[in-house]
Symmetry: C2
Subunit: 483 residues, 2 copies
């Protein structure tokens, strides 16, 4: 005695072909990559997993779901951090995977644009640009599996934001399937277009709740001729800000990275990944990684980079905003310094579970925020350890709280995580910051958002959601909790 | 026997004080600056002119108008180019002037942000930044009278777009009064904030049809230590594109201007403004103005600029994408070259009326577009003269058509302007371009837009307008024609 057959499954098979539809009784090993959050925090149940191979097929799937009143959860590489792209446990949501939409449609070198489908993996897109001698300046830890559609749906950040902006700033056009199956063709490589409301920016960052991104046109850059790095120990956060201002003045738009790393973050790297040997961390409360990119003729660019970084370091040591500094002499040395920065999350994971926060603040408020939050945490949770690092040049901190040394991390989090989150987020709000800088809202922060977001902003968001998705079929409950 | 008194006038006086309300029977000299388009193409009649002095007063005015069912036309400096900010001739629209909202609210040097009210004149904002040793990189011809609110409502362009983007790219936050009088406080200086739909970008460029901008937070930059200019004669548009690609590779983000000027445009300058003496124009079909900005220590920056421009010119002469070149040796010489570029519209006005187009194209399509449009115009209107210039680095051309030499310009335009517009816009569409790059839609292009805009995009725009302004009170008929 099986359950009654689901007529929607047949409709979906008619849209995309039977091999590209998984029913709920498919083997777990096939379903799990779609239904399970990659960090293992949630295992949902989908009414169906459907993998369209073209924009027309996406539109057909959306129409079939709309006719059946079935909710749709769009998914790219399933690398999101806020549970925005996995189905809930109800078994009523259709998981629409975009990964078969993986064609590069056009690379226009003279226009510096790349038009490609939403399911293209970021690394594939980066490689397509590199093959043409160009550069797609979007880079993040999950680039080997995240997709362009997911990057845009969540307005991804990454390591190049300081110079090139967030994912939205790299996008010139979109193709979107709307909740009624209509297709908006907003592709195109125009840098200026003032012919009406900017729909592009509305869909970017809407986390699949307004439409399904099927393709995009991205801006490319010429490849930088040379890049260089300096690693600086600073005596305080105030000094780090002074160093940032000095670097912005002296290096101008060549300044392409300004990363902050707290002492405990580097101590965890030194402890768990000892071969990486982070420099200077024992003497200074914070270290900073500064990256400079230069164009110019390649034969001169490296020398120019080194000269300019040396001049910056000298000035910063003289002015007291740097305590000590290391200048990478070669590209390999520069990459080794970046690698230390990038390994902080890994070292932290090896130390154990922790309460993660992806927050942003006006840069000027960061010292006051950190002083206040640290004091409150020390008072509320004596011994709790603060792992503070992030993209200081963007005002973005990964402000993570780890249990006291030697304590049971899981038990600590079960007992205190809600309290820690409220303490950190309340403090962020007092300093004019955001509770989600890069990662988005998803379901993880949807219930929390109304406490921190302007009420009129939320009302406007609901009006827009109602207007563009009146049936509430697209990613319901993500970003905005169900009414 | 006068007309019946309008009760809305008393309500508005209660909102903002009697001195800040003009009734329709006020002296023409007082009404005209608000009711008349600055280029003299339209003289409307307002039901009232109201000048609120605070965000709360704007909200009160909006509520009073909503209660009376009166449409509102927001106006900043009245420098728009598409008749989007002047009342129609019905006498039913309330003109809401934002110019008394002119306070600088905060300058945060460490965060590189400026928060100010919508009625601040752009030049005042530029000066506020300069007083703090910083730079607001928004610059356009009307900067002495246009307002920040108008710049954002129309997503203004200008001369710094190549490096810093359009007005929307300079804006981190907004304060908006909605059509029901509710205030959205979206100010703040965050470079990353992924907490929901990007309302900011929806209001920017919506030309006052969704809400009234009352304040904004803008990004500032450190002042450039030095700028330099080169003026290059190029043998063809294809060569101009090759030169652009070379400049982008060699100069990287220091490339802050790349302006194209057709031979006829420069001939008009030489003829009507002979003291300006434009160089090289007689030998080459196009000239290009290249601007490089450098940070670095001020004492080295000038030499660095000159060295890099020299290297670019040498490479471009060797590769054949430049025919001849002039390098400005001093800042004064660089300013003189820019002045020639900026005087093209004036020289053209002295030559007489012309059909103006503010179009954009994928940069790679510009040579093909120009060849096709020029051939079509020559066939349709023998002797008509093409004044082609613009921001080539942004793909933005001011593609203007002047009557045959010696003909009656006004008669020519009356007879042919509609035909010329259709010919140019149809050609723009075939090459994937936009019929309004910088200027917007307003009422001037609202009826034309549906012919060239994706139908689904228009449908989405109407859904958003209906959701956010269900009574249709804000700037009705602008951007979207009345249903």
């Amino acid at each position: 005695m099986g359950t009654a057959p689901d007529p929607l499954l047949d409709a979906l098979r008619a849209c995309v072909g039977a091999p590209h539809v998984l029913a709920p009784d498919a083997p777990t090993a096939e379903l799990e990559p779609y239904e399970r959050d990659w960090r293992g925090r949630q295992r949902g149940r989908a009414r169906a997993v459907v993998r369209p191979g073209s924009t027309a097929e996406v539109a057909a799937v959306v129409r079939a779901c709309a006719a059946a009143g079935a909710a749709i959860v769009p998914q790219g590489g399933n690398t999101g951090l806020v549970l925005g792209g996995v189905p809930d446990s109800s078994g009523t949501e259709v998981l629409l995977c975009t990964r078969r939409l993986n064609r590069i449609r056009a690379l226009d070198a003279a226009n510096l644009t790349l038009t490609l489908e939403a399911g293209c993996v970021l690394q594939t897109a980066q490689q397509a640009a590199a093959n043409a001698g160009l550069w797609l300046p979007l880079s993040l830890a999950s680039e080997g599996s995240c997709t362009i559609g997911g990057n845009l749906a969540t307005n991804a950040g990454g390591t190049q934001v300081l110079r090139f902006g967030n994912a939205r700033d790299l996008c010139l056009g979109l193709e979107v399937v709307c909740p009624d199956g209509a297709i908006w063709n907003g592709l195109g490589g125009l840098r200026k277009d003032n012919t009406g409301y900017d729909l592009r920016h509305l869909y970017i960052g809407s986390e699949g709740t307004l439409g399904i991104l099927t393709a995009a046109t991205l801006k490319l850059q010429p490849q930088a001729a040379a890049q260089g790095c300096a690693w600086v120990g600073v005596p305080s956060l105030e000094a780090a800000l002074a160093l940032l201002a000095l670097a912005q003045r002296q290096l101008g738009p060549g300044l392409s990275g300004f990363e902050l790393m707290g002492q405990l973050a580097l101590q965890l790297v030194a402890q768990h990944l000892p071969t990486l040997r982070p420099p200077l961390w024992q003497q200074w409360p914070y270290c900073v990684l500064i990256e400079l990119s230069e164009s110019a003729a390649p034969e001169q660019a490296h020398a120019l980079v080194q000269t300019r970084l040396q001049a910056l370091l000298q000035a910063s040591l003289e002015q007291g905003c740097a305590g000590d500094a290391v200048l990478a002499e070669t590209l390999a040395q520069a990459q080794r310094l970046w690698h230390i920065r990038e390994c902080i999350p890994l070292a932290q994971a090896q130390e154990g579970l922790n309460a993660k926060h992806d927050i942003s603040l006006p840069i000027s408020r960061i010292p006051a925020f950190c002083a206040e939050a640290e004091a409150l945490l020390a008072q509320a949770l004596p011994g709790a350890r603060l792992v503070n690092f992030g993209h200081l040049g963007d005002g973005n901190l990964h402000y993570n709280v780890q249990c006291p040394a030697g304590a049971d991390a899981a038990a600590f989090l079960r007992q205190h995580e809600a309290h820690i989150n409220a303490l950190v987020f309340d403090c962020v709000q007092r300093h004019g910051g955001s509770i989600s800088a890069e990662h988005g809202i998803g379901t993880l922060r949807a219930a929390t958002l109304p406490r921190y977001k302007d009420a009129q902003a939320l009302a406007l968001m609901r009006q827009i959601k109602q207007a563009l998705d009146p049936q509430g079929l697209l990613n319901p409950g993500r970003v905005l909790v169900r009414a």
